[in-house]
Protein backbone atom coordinates (compact mmCIF):
# COMPACT_ATOMS: atom_id res chain seq x y z
CA UNK A 1 0.00 0.00 0.00
CA UNK A 2 2.78 2.42 0.85
CA UNK A 3 6.25 2.18 -0.53
CA UNK A 4 9.38 4.17 0.27
CA UNK A 5 11.98 4.07 -2.48
CA UNK A 6 15.61 5.08 -1.91
CA UNK A 7 14.72 7.69 0.70
CA UNK A 8 17.69 9.71 1.91
CA UNK A 9 17.75 12.72 4.21
CA UNK A 10 20.82 14.64 5.34
CA UNK A 11 21.22 17.59 7.70
CA UNK A 12 24.41 19.46 8.64
CA UNK A 13 26.51 16.86 6.87
CA UNK A 14 24.95 14.02 8.84
CA UNK A 15 23.03 11.25 7.14
CA UNK A 16 19.77 10.95 9.07
CA UNK A 17 18.25 8.48 6.62
CA UNK A 18 20.36 6.55 4.15
CA UNK A 19 18.68 4.96 1.16
CA UNK A 20 15.62 3.57 2.90
CA UNK A 21 13.54 1.07 0.96
CA UNK A 22 10.43 -0.11 2.72
CA UNK A 23 7.05 -1.53 1.76
CA UNK A 24 4.15 -1.41 4.19
CA UNK A 25 1.15 -3.60 3.49
CA UNK A 26 -2.52 -3.22 4.31
CA UNK A 27 -3.95 -4.80 7.45
CA UNK A 28 -0.60 -4.90 9.15
CA UNK A 29 0.55 -3.39 12.39
CA UNK A 30 4.17 -2.23 12.12
CA UNK A 31 6.42 -0.97 14.88
CA UNK A 32 9.58 0.99 14.05
CA UNK A 33 12.15 0.85 16.79
CA UNK A 34 15.80 1.70 17.24
CA UNK A 35 18.05 3.92 19.34
CA UNK A 36 17.66 7.69 19.66
CA UNK A 37 18.95 9.46 16.58
CA UNK A 38 18.39 6.45 14.32
CA UNK A 39 15.99 8.42 12.09
CA UNK A 40 12.63 6.95 13.17
CA UNK A 41 10.74 10.21 13.60
CA UNK A 42 12.24 11.67 10.43
CA UNK A 43 11.06 8.64 8.49
CA UNK A 44 7.54 9.00 9.88
CA UNK A 45 7.48 12.72 9.12
CA UNK A 46 8.63 12.06 5.56
CA UNK A 47 5.63 9.77 5.03
CA UNK A 48 3.25 12.50 6.32
CA UNK A 49 4.99 15.23 4.29
CA UNK A 50 6.15 17.23 7.32
CA UNK A 51 9.74 16.71 6.19
CA UNK A 52 10.79 16.46 2.53
CA UNK A 53 13.41 13.86 1.62
CA UNK A 54 16.56 14.93 -0.24
CA UNK A 55 16.30 11.89 -2.46
CA UNK A 56 13.85 9.11 -3.18
CA UNK A 57 10.13 8.79 -3.61
CA UNK A 58 7.02 7.75 -1.73
CA UNK A 59 4.37 5.73 -3.50
CA UNK A 60 0.90 5.43 -2.02
CA UNK A 61 -1.53 3.04 -3.68
CA UNK A 62 0.47 3.28 -6.88
CA UNK A 63 0.60 7.09 -6.88
CA UNK A 64 3.79 9.10 -6.35
CA UNK A 65 3.04 11.43 -3.45
CA UNK A 66 6.57 12.73 -2.84
CA UNK A 67 5.60 16.30 -3.79
CA UNK A 68 2.19 16.33 -2.11
CA UNK A 69 1.63 18.69 0.85
CA UNK A 70 0.62 17.56 4.35
CA UNK A 71 -3.06 18.38 3.83
CA UNK A 72 -3.14 16.69 0.43
CA UNK A 73 -1.72 13.52 1.97
CA UNK A 74 -4.15 13.81 4.88
CA UNK A 75 -7.04 13.99 2.44
CA UNK A 76 -5.70 10.90 0.65
CA UNK A 77 -5.97 8.95 3.90
CA UNK A 78 -2.64 9.36 5.72
CA UNK A 79 -2.80 10.37 9.35
CA UNK A 80 -0.25 11.22 12.01
CA UNK A 81 -0.38 11.23 15.81
CA UNK A 82 2.28 13.57 17.14
CA UNK A 83 4.79 12.67 19.81
CA UNK A 84 4.07 15.92 21.61
CA UNK A 85 0.46 16.81 20.91
CA UNK A 86 -0.18 20.47 20.23
CA UNK A 87 -2.39 22.60 22.48
CA UNK A 88 -4.92 25.07 21.12
CA UNK A 89 -6.32 27.90 23.18
CA UNK A 90 -10.03 28.33 22.52
CA UNK A 91 -10.54 25.11 20.53
CA UNK A 92 -12.53 22.42 22.33
CA UNK A 93 -12.04 18.66 22.07
CA UNK A 94 -15.35 18.45 20.19
CA UNK A 95 -14.30 21.13 17.71
CA UNK A 96 -10.96 19.42 17.11
CA UNK A 97 -12.71 16.10 16.44
CA UNK A 98 -15.07 17.86 14.03
CA UNK A 99 -12.09 19.36 12.20
CA UNK A 100 -10.57 15.89 12.01
CA UNK A 101 -13.69 14.44 10.45
CA UNK A 102 -16.58 16.49 9.14
CA UNK A 103 -18.82 13.48 9.59
CA UNK A 104 -18.44 13.80 13.36
CA UNK A 105 -21.46 16.03 13.26
CA UNK A 106 -22.88 15.30 16.66
CA UNK A 107 -21.46 15.26 20.15
CA UNK A 108 -22.71 11.69 20.38
CA UNK A 109 -20.35 10.68 17.55
CA UNK A 110 -17.49 12.52 19.18
CA UNK A 111 -18.21 10.87 22.52
CA UNK A 112 -18.09 7.47 20.86
CA UNK A 113 -14.61 8.20 19.49
CA UNK A 114 -13.39 9.46 22.86
CA UNK A 115 -14.65 6.35 24.57
CA UNK A 116 -12.52 4.32 22.13
CA UNK A 117 -9.40 5.89 23.62
CA UNK A 118 -10.65 5.33 27.13
CA UNK A 119 -11.78 8.85 27.98
CA UNK A 120 -15.03 9.53 29.77
CA UNK A 121 -16.46 11.59 26.96
CA UNK A 122 -18.79 13.85 28.92
CA UNK A 123 -15.93 15.17 30.99
CA UNK A 124 -13.81 16.09 28.00
CA UNK A 125 -16.00 16.96 25.06
CA UNK A 126 -16.38 20.67 25.89
CA UNK A 127 -12.95 21.21 27.37
CA UNK A 128 -10.41 23.28 25.53
CA UNK A 129 -7.35 21.51 24.14
CA UNK A 130 -5.08 23.66 26.27
CA UNK A 131 -2.70 23.36 29.19
CA UNK A 132 -5.51 22.33 31.56
CA UNK A 133 -5.20 18.82 30.07
CA UNK A 134 -2.53 16.44 31.32
CA UNK A 135 0.02 14.82 29.02
CA UNK A 136 -1.84 11.50 29.11
CA UNK A 137 -5.20 13.11 28.36
CA UNK A 138 -3.74 15.07 25.46
CA UNK A 139 -2.13 11.97 24.07
CA UNK A 140 -5.40 10.11 24.01
CA UNK A 141 -7.21 13.06 22.44
CA UNK A 142 -4.44 13.15 19.83
CA UNK A 143 -5.03 9.48 19.07
CA UNK A 144 -8.80 10.14 18.97
CA UNK A 145 -8.34 12.85 16.31
CA UNK A 146 -6.37 10.38 14.21
CA UNK A 147 -8.86 7.53 14.67
CA UNK A 148 -11.80 9.76 13.83
CA UNK A 149 -10.34 10.34 10.36
CA UNK A 150 -10.70 6.63 9.61
CA UNK A 151 -7.34 6.75 7.83
CA UNK A 152 -5.82 4.22 5.46
CA UNK A 153 -2.35 4.82 6.89
CA UNK A 154 -1.92 5.75 10.54
CA UNK A 155 1.39 6.84 11.99
CA UNK A 156 1.92 7.13 15.75
CA UNK A 157 5.14 8.83 16.80
CA UNK A 158 6.18 7.49 20.21
CA UNK A 159 2.68 7.32 21.69
CA UNK A 160 4.14 6.36 25.07
CA UNK A 161 6.32 9.48 25.35
CA UNK A 162 5.45 11.83 28.17
CA UNK A 163 2.73 9.77 29.80
CA UNK A 164 2.61 8.05 33.16
CA UNK A 165 2.60 4.33 33.67
CA UNK A 166 -1.10 4.15 34.43
CA UNK A 167 -2.00 5.94 31.21
CA UNK A 168 0.46 3.76 29.33
CA UNK A 169 -1.35 0.60 30.43
CA UNK A 170 -4.56 2.05 29.04
CA UNK A 171 -2.79 3.04 25.87
CA UNK A 172 -1.71 -0.53 25.23
CA UNK A 173 -5.35 -1.58 25.44
CA UNK A 174 -6.22 1.15 22.93
CA UNK A 175 -3.61 -0.18 20.51
CA UNK A 176 -4.79 -3.75 20.99
CA UNK A 177 -8.28 -2.57 20.06
CA UNK A 178 -7.00 -0.64 17.04
CA UNK A 179 -5.16 -3.73 15.88
CA UNK A 180 -8.35 -5.76 16.17
CA UNK A 181 -10.71 -3.29 14.46
CA UNK A 182 -8.52 -1.49 12.06
CA UNK A 183 -8.09 -2.14 8.36
CA UNK A 184 -5.17 -0.26 6.91
CA UNK A 185 -1.51 0.30 7.62
CA UNK A 186 -0.63 1.16 11.20
CA UNK A 187 2.91 2.33 11.86
CA UNK A 188 4.04 2.98 15.41
CA UNK A 189 7.36 4.36 16.50
CA UNK A 190 8.11 2.93 19.89
CA UNK A 191 10.76 1.71 22.30
CA UNK A 192 8.33 -0.08 24.54
CA UNK A 193 8.51 -3.85 24.68
CA UNK A 194 4.77 -4.08 25.29
CA UNK A 195 4.10 -2.23 22.06
CA UNK A 196 6.68 -4.32 20.21
CA UNK A 197 4.82 -7.37 21.50
CA UNK A 198 1.63 -6.49 19.67
CA UNK A 199 3.31 -5.76 16.33
CA UNK A 200 2.81 -7.93 13.27
CA UNK A 201 6.20 -6.80 12.04
CA UNK A 202 9.05 -4.88 13.59
CA UNK A 203 11.38 -2.59 11.66
CA UNK A 204 14.68 -1.94 13.35
CA UNK A 205 16.39 1.31 12.36
CA UNK A 206 20.01 2.03 13.16
CA UNK A 207 22.02 5.07 11.98
CA UNK A 208 19.43 5.86 9.32
CA UNK A 209 19.33 2.37 7.87
CA UNK A 210 16.97 -0.55 8.23
CA UNK A 211 19.01 -3.29 9.87
CA UNK A 212 16.20 -5.75 10.47
CA UNK A 213 12.58 -6.20 9.41
CA UNK A 214 10.34 -9.10 10.09
CA UNK A 215 8.27 -11.02 12.58
CA UNK A 216 8.66 -9.83 16.10
CA UNK A 217 10.24 -13.06 17.38
CA UNK A 218 13.08 -12.76 14.86
CA UNK A 219 13.67 -9.03 15.27
CA UNK A 220 13.54 -9.13 19.05
CA UNK A 221 16.22 -11.79 18.83
CA UNK A 222 18.24 -9.38 16.64
CA UNK A 223 17.68 -6.55 19.11
CA UNK A 224 19.07 -8.69 21.87
CA UNK A 225 22.13 -9.50 19.72
CA UNK A 226 24.87 -7.17 20.99
CA UNK A 227 26.81 -7.35 17.72
CA UNK A 228 23.95 -5.79 15.80
CA UNK A 229 23.01 -2.93 18.07
CA UNK A 230 25.38 -0.10 18.76
CA UNK A 231 24.73 1.32 22.19
CA UNK A 232 23.67 4.93 22.66
CA UNK A 233 22.81 7.28 19.85
CA UNK A 234 22.02 10.89 19.28
CA UNK A 235 18.99 12.87 20.18
CA UNK A 236 16.23 14.04 17.88
CA UNK A 237 15.60 10.65 16.37
Amino acid sequence: MIELKNISFERNGKKILNNINLTLETDKFYVITGPNGSGKSTLAKIIMGIVSPDKGSIIFNGQDITDKTIDQRANMGISFAFQQPVRFKGITVYELLKLANKNVATKQNACFILSKVGLCAKEYIDREVDSSLSGGELKRIEIATVLSREPKVTIFDEPEAGIDLWSFKNLINVFRQIQKDYHGVALIISHQERILNIADEIILLEHGEIVAKGKKEQVIKDILNPDLIVAGGENNG
Binding site: M48, I50, T69, I70, D71, A74, N75, S79, F80, F82, Q84, P85, V86, F88, K89, G90, I91, E95, L99, A100, T145, R149
Partner: protein
Amino acid sequence: MDKIVNNILDEVIEKDYKQADAYNLRVNGQTLKRQTNPYIDIINKDNNEGIDIHVKDNTLFGIIHIPVVLTERGLKDKVYNDFYIGKNANVIILSGCGIHNDGHEDSQHDGIHRFYLEEGAKVKYIEKHYGEGSGDGSKILNPITEINMKKGSSMTIDTVQIKGVDDTLRETKAILEEDTTLVISEKILTNNKQCAKTNFEVVLNGHNASTHVTSRSVATGKSYQEFKSNIVGNNNCYAHVECDAILKEEGVVKAIPEICANNVNANLIHEAAIGKIAGEQLIKLMSLGLTEKEAEETIINGFLK
Protein backbone atom coordinates in the same frame (compact mmCIF):
# COMPACT_ATOMS: atom_id res chain seq x y z
CA MET B 1 -34.77 53.61 11.90
CA ASP B 2 -32.53 53.38 8.88
CA LYS B 3 -30.88 50.27 7.57
CA ILE B 4 -27.34 51.29 8.58
CA VAL B 5 -28.33 51.62 12.24
CA ASN B 6 -30.03 48.22 12.16
CA ASN B 7 -26.99 46.62 10.53
CA ILE B 8 -24.72 48.02 13.23
CA LEU B 9 -27.08 46.83 15.95
CA ASP B 10 -26.92 43.35 14.42
CA GLU B 11 -23.12 43.46 14.70
CA VAL B 12 -22.83 44.74 18.26
CA ILE B 13 -25.67 42.99 20.04
CA GLU B 14 -26.50 39.34 19.89
CA LYS B 15 -30.20 39.58 20.64
CA ASP B 16 -32.93 42.12 20.04
CA TYR B 17 -32.42 44.87 22.61
CA LYS B 18 -36.18 45.37 22.85
CA GLN B 19 -36.49 42.01 24.57
CA ALA B 20 -34.40 43.27 27.49
CA ASP B 21 -36.02 44.22 30.81
CA ALA B 22 -34.72 47.73 30.35
CA TYR B 23 -32.95 49.45 27.48
CA ASN B 24 -31.68 52.74 26.21
CA LEU B 25 -30.79 53.17 22.54
CA ARG B 26 -28.54 56.13 21.79
CA VAL B 27 -28.07 57.12 18.15
CA ASN B 28 -25.87 60.05 17.14
CA GLY B 29 -25.79 61.48 20.64
CA GLN B 30 -29.56 61.32 21.29
CA THR B 31 -31.66 58.77 23.13
CA LEU B 32 -34.02 57.27 20.55
CA LYS B 33 -35.75 54.58 22.55
CA ARG B 34 -35.97 53.67 26.18
CA GLN B 35 -37.75 51.19 28.37
CA THR B 36 -37.64 50.78 32.13
CA ASN B 37 -39.43 48.62 34.65
CA PRO B 38 -40.21 48.88 38.40
CA TYR B 39 -36.82 47.41 39.30
CA ILE B 40 -34.57 49.03 36.75
CA ASP B 41 -34.80 52.73 36.12
CA ILE B 42 -32.93 54.81 33.54
CA ILE B 43 -32.75 58.57 34.04
CA ASN B 44 -31.16 61.27 31.88
CA LYS B 45 -28.30 63.25 33.30
CA ASP B 46 -28.41 66.99 33.01
CA ASN B 47 -27.32 68.52 29.68
CA ASN B 48 -27.77 65.22 27.88
CA GLU B 49 -24.42 64.10 29.25
CA GLY B 50 -25.57 60.53 29.67
CA ILE B 51 -27.75 58.32 31.81
CA ASP B 52 -28.01 56.96 35.34
CA ILE B 53 -29.13 53.37 35.64
CA HIS B 54 -30.56 52.38 39.00
CA VAL B 55 -31.09 48.73 39.84
CA LYS B 56 -33.06 48.13 43.02
CA ASP B 57 -31.84 45.85 45.82
CA ASN B 58 -32.49 42.13 45.29
CA THR B 59 -33.40 42.51 41.59
CA LEU B 60 -32.87 39.09 40.07
CA PHE B 61 -31.92 38.24 36.49
CA GLY B 62 -32.40 41.71 35.08
CA ILE B 63 -31.15 42.26 31.54
CA ILE B 64 -30.20 45.78 30.50
CA HIS B 65 -29.24 46.81 26.97
CA ILE B 66 -27.58 50.17 26.28
CA PRO B 67 -26.56 50.13 22.59
CA VAL B 68 -24.88 53.16 21.03
CA VAL B 69 -24.70 53.88 17.30
CA LEU B 70 -22.88 56.66 15.45
CA THR B 71 -23.64 57.20 11.78
CA GLU B 72 -23.24 60.98 11.52
CA ARG B 73 -19.93 61.80 9.87
CA GLY B 74 -17.42 63.58 12.03
CA LEU B 75 -19.53 63.32 15.20
CA LYS B 76 -17.68 63.28 18.50
CA ASP B 77 -19.94 61.84 21.16
CA LYS B 78 -19.05 61.65 24.82
CA VAL B 79 -21.40 60.00 27.28
CA TYR B 80 -21.38 59.26 31.00
CA ASN B 81 -23.32 56.17 32.03
CA ASP B 82 -23.49 55.47 35.74
CA PHE B 83 -24.76 52.15 37.04
CA TYR B 84 -25.99 51.87 40.62
CA ILE B 85 -26.49 48.20 41.38
CA GLY B 86 -28.41 47.55 44.59
CA LYS B 87 -27.66 45.01 47.30
CA ASN B 88 -27.83 41.38 46.14
CA ALA B 89 -29.12 42.40 42.72
CA ASN B 90 -28.08 40.19 39.81
CA VAL B 91 -28.02 41.77 36.36
CA ILE B 92 -26.59 41.39 32.89
CA ILE B 93 -25.66 44.59 31.08
CA LEU B 94 -24.98 44.63 27.35
CA SER B 95 -23.24 47.61 25.90
CA GLY B 96 -22.71 47.40 22.16
CA CYS B 97 -21.18 50.35 20.35
CA GLY B 98 -20.81 50.71 16.60
CA ILE B 99 -19.63 53.48 14.29
CA HIS B 100 -20.45 53.85 10.60
CA ASN B 101 -18.32 56.45 8.91
CA ASP B 102 -18.36 57.08 5.15
CA GLY B 103 -16.76 60.52 5.42
CA HIS B 104 -13.33 62.08 5.68
CA GLU B 105 -13.73 63.39 9.20
CA ASP B 106 -13.13 61.25 12.25
CA SER B 107 -16.08 59.83 14.20
CA GLN B 108 -15.53 59.27 17.87
CA HIS B 109 -17.42 57.84 20.82
CA ASP B 110 -16.05 58.10 24.35
CA GLY B 111 -18.19 56.07 26.72
CA ILE B 112 -17.49 56.55 30.39
CA HIS B 113 -19.11 53.78 32.39
CA ARG B 114 -19.06 53.93 36.15
CA PHE B 115 -20.27 50.99 38.18
CA TYR B 116 -21.22 51.12 41.85
CA LEU B 117 -21.89 47.62 43.15
CA GLU B 118 -23.48 47.41 46.56
CA GLU B 119 -22.94 44.47 48.91
CA GLY B 120 -23.59 41.08 47.33
CA ALA B 121 -24.42 42.51 43.89
CA LYS B 122 -23.58 40.47 40.81
CA VAL B 123 -23.02 41.99 37.38
CA LYS B 124 -22.12 40.51 34.03
CA TYR B 125 -21.10 43.26 31.65
CA ILE B 126 -20.70 42.51 27.96
CA GLU B 127 -19.21 45.14 25.68
CA LYS B 128 -18.78 44.79 21.93
CA HIS B 129 -17.19 47.40 19.71
CA TYR B 130 -17.39 47.58 15.95
CA GLY B 131 -16.57 49.99 13.15
CA GLU B 132 -17.48 50.11 9.45
CA GLY B 133 -17.81 52.51 6.51
CA SER B 134 -16.00 53.40 3.30
CA GLY B 135 -14.67 56.84 4.28
CA ASP B 136 -11.09 57.52 5.24
CA GLY B 137 -12.17 59.26 8.44
CA SER B 138 -11.13 57.27 11.48
CA LYS B 139 -13.54 55.40 13.71
CA ILE B 140 -12.41 56.04 17.26
CA LEU B 141 -13.72 54.43 20.46
CA ASN B 142 -12.31 55.33 23.85
CA PRO B 143 -14.20 53.53 26.60
CA ILE B 144 -13.48 54.21 30.24
CA THR B 145 -14.81 51.76 32.79
CA GLU B 146 -14.64 52.50 36.49
CA ILE B 147 -15.75 49.89 38.97
CA ASN B 148 -16.35 50.19 42.69
CA MET B 149 -17.13 46.91 44.40
CA LYS B 150 -18.51 46.62 47.91
CA LYS B 151 -18.23 43.56 50.15
CA GLY B 152 -19.30 40.26 48.61
CA SER B 153 -20.02 41.67 45.15
CA SER B 154 -18.78 40.13 41.91
CA MET B 155 -18.46 41.28 38.34
CA THR B 156 -17.58 39.64 35.04
CA ILE B 157 -16.62 41.76 32.06
CA ASP B 158 -16.36 40.47 28.50
CA THR B 159 -15.12 42.99 25.97
CA VAL B 160 -14.71 42.32 22.28
CA GLN B 161 -13.35 44.50 19.53
CA ILE B 162 -13.07 42.44 16.39
CA LYS B 163 -13.41 44.70 13.39
CA GLY B 164 -13.10 48.14 11.99
CA VAL B 165 -12.10 50.34 14.94
CA ASP B 166 -9.13 52.47 13.88
CA ASP B 167 -8.08 53.84 17.19
CA THR B 168 -8.98 52.88 20.70
CA LEU B 169 -7.78 53.58 24.19
CA ARG B 170 -9.57 51.42 26.72
CA GLU B 171 -9.16 52.26 30.34
CA THR B 172 -10.50 50.09 33.12
CA LYS B 173 -10.11 50.97 36.78
CA ALA B 174 -11.45 48.95 39.67
CA ILE B 175 -11.40 49.12 43.44
CA LEU B 176 -12.26 45.91 45.22
CA GLU B 177 -13.37 45.56 48.81
CA GLU B 178 -13.71 42.45 50.99
CA ASP B 179 -14.73 39.09 49.41
CA THR B 180 -15.13 40.51 45.93
CA THR B 181 -14.32 38.95 42.57
CA LEU B 182 -13.66 40.69 39.30
CA VAL B 183 -13.13 38.66 36.13
CA ILE B 184 -12.21 40.50 32.94
CA SER B 185 -11.84 38.94 29.52
CA GLU B 186 -10.76 41.07 26.58
CA LYS B 187 -10.53 40.06 22.91
CA ILE B 188 -9.07 42.37 20.30
CA LEU B 189 -8.28 41.99 16.62
CA THR B 190 -6.55 44.81 14.81
CA ASN B 191 -5.50 45.10 11.18
CA ASN B 192 -4.22 47.66 8.63
CA LYS B 193 -2.82 50.62 10.58
CA GLN B 194 -5.19 50.32 13.54
CA CYS B 195 -4.05 51.07 17.05
CA ALA B 196 -5.51 49.61 20.25
CA LYS B 197 -4.29 50.41 23.72
CA THR B 198 -5.73 48.97 26.90
CA ASN B 199 -4.95 49.91 30.48
CA PHE B 200 -6.12 47.93 33.47
CA GLU B 201 -5.73 49.24 36.95
CA VAL B 202 -7.12 47.05 39.72
CA VAL B 203 -6.66 47.84 43.39
CA LEU B 204 -7.40 44.97 45.75
CA ASN B 205 -8.14 46.58 49.08
CA GLY B 206 -10.27 43.97 50.80
CA HIS B 207 -9.51 40.64 52.44
CA ASN B 208 -10.20 37.84 49.93
CA ALA B 209 -10.54 40.19 46.99
CA SER B 210 -9.58 38.52 43.74
CA THR B 211 -9.28 39.36 40.08
CA HIS B 212 -8.55 37.47 36.90
CA VAL B 213 -7.72 39.50 33.80
CA THR B 214 -7.36 37.70 30.46
CA SER B 215 -6.43 39.52 27.28
CA ARG B 216 -6.27 37.70 23.97
CA SER B 217 -5.38 39.67 20.91
CA VAL B 218 -4.34 39.31 17.30
CA ALA B 219 -2.37 42.06 15.59
CA THR B 220 -2.23 41.81 11.80
CA GLY B 221 -1.22 44.15 8.96
CA LYS B 222 0.72 47.10 10.34
CA SER B 223 -1.42 47.43 13.45
CA TYR B 224 -0.17 48.25 16.92
CA GLN B 225 -1.45 47.10 20.30
CA GLU B 226 -0.42 47.95 23.79
CA PHE B 227 -1.52 46.11 26.91
CA LYS B 228 -0.82 47.70 30.26
CA SER B 229 -1.90 46.28 33.56
CA ASN B 230 -1.28 47.52 37.02
CA ILE B 231 -2.51 45.38 39.90
CA VAL B 232 -2.09 46.52 43.47
CA GLY B 233 -2.61 44.09 46.35
CA ASN B 234 -3.19 45.78 49.68
CA ASN B 235 -4.55 42.81 51.63
CA ASN B 236 -4.80 39.03 51.63
CA CYS B 237 -5.83 38.87 47.98
CA TYR B 238 -5.27 37.12 44.66
CA ALA B 239 -4.71 38.37 41.14
CA HIS B 240 -3.93 36.59 37.90
CA VAL B 241 -3.27 38.55 34.70
CA GLU B 242 -2.78 36.78 31.39
CA CYS B 243 -1.85 38.56 28.17
CA ASP B 244 -1.69 36.38 25.06
CA ALA B 245 -1.09 37.83 21.64
CA ILE B 246 -0.70 36.42 18.15
CA LEU B 247 1.27 38.42 15.61
CA LYS B 248 0.77 38.32 11.86
CA GLU B 249 2.57 40.17 9.07
CA GLU B 250 3.95 43.40 10.57
CA GLY B 251 1.71 43.55 13.64
CA VAL B 252 3.28 44.85 16.84
CA VAL B 253 2.22 44.10 20.41
CA LYS B 254 3.69 45.54 23.54
CA ALA B 255 2.76 44.22 27.01
CA ILE B 256 3.62 46.19 30.11
CA PRO B 257 2.92 44.30 33.30
CA GLU B 258 3.01 45.91 36.69
CA ILE B 259 2.10 44.15 39.90
CA CYS B 260 2.59 45.61 43.31
CA ALA B 261 2.09 43.64 46.54
CA ASN B 262 1.76 45.85 49.60
CA ASN B 263 0.80 42.98 51.85
CA VAL B 264 2.69 39.79 52.68
CA ASN B 265 -0.44 37.75 51.91
CA ALA B 266 -1.04 39.27 48.49
CA ASN B 267 -0.59 36.69 45.71
CA LEU B 268 -0.22 38.38 42.32
CA ILE B 269 0.67 36.69 39.04
CA HIS B 270 1.27 38.15 35.60
CA GLU B 271 1.79 36.05 32.48
CA ALA B 272 2.43 37.39 29.00
CA ALA B 273 3.09 35.52 25.77
CA ILE B 274 3.45 37.17 22.36
CA GLY B 275 4.38 35.42 19.15
CA LYS B 276 3.29 34.18 15.77
CA ILE B 277 1.13 31.08 15.33
CA ALA B 278 3.18 28.04 16.31
CA GLY B 279 4.30 25.97 13.33
CA GLU B 280 3.26 22.78 15.15
CA GLN B 281 -0.31 24.05 15.41
CA LEU B 282 -0.46 24.64 11.65
CA ILE B 283 1.10 21.25 10.91
CA LYS B 284 -1.36 19.47 13.22
CA LEU B 285 -4.40 21.04 11.57
CA MET B 286 -2.94 20.42 8.09
CA SER B 287 -2.50 16.78 9.07
CA LEU B 288 -6.28 16.80 9.68
CA GLY B 289 -6.79 17.89 6.06
CA LEU B 290 -6.99 21.69 6.40
CA THR B 291 -5.00 23.90 4.03
CA GLU B 292 -2.47 26.23 5.62
CA LYS B 293 -4.86 29.19 5.23
CA GLU B 294 -7.79 27.30 6.75
CA ALA B 295 -5.57 26.16 9.61
CA GLU B 296 -4.50 29.72 10.35
CA GLU B 297 -8.10 30.98 10.32
CA THR B 298 -9.21 28.16 12.59
CA ILE B 299 -6.46 28.92 15.13
CA ILE B 300 -7.24 32.66 15.20
CA ASN B 301 -11.01 32.16 15.37
CA GLY B 302 -10.62 29.75 18.27
CA PHE B 303 -8.19 32.04 20.06
CA LEU B 304 -10.58 35.00 19.86
CA LYS B 305 -13.77 33.04 20.47
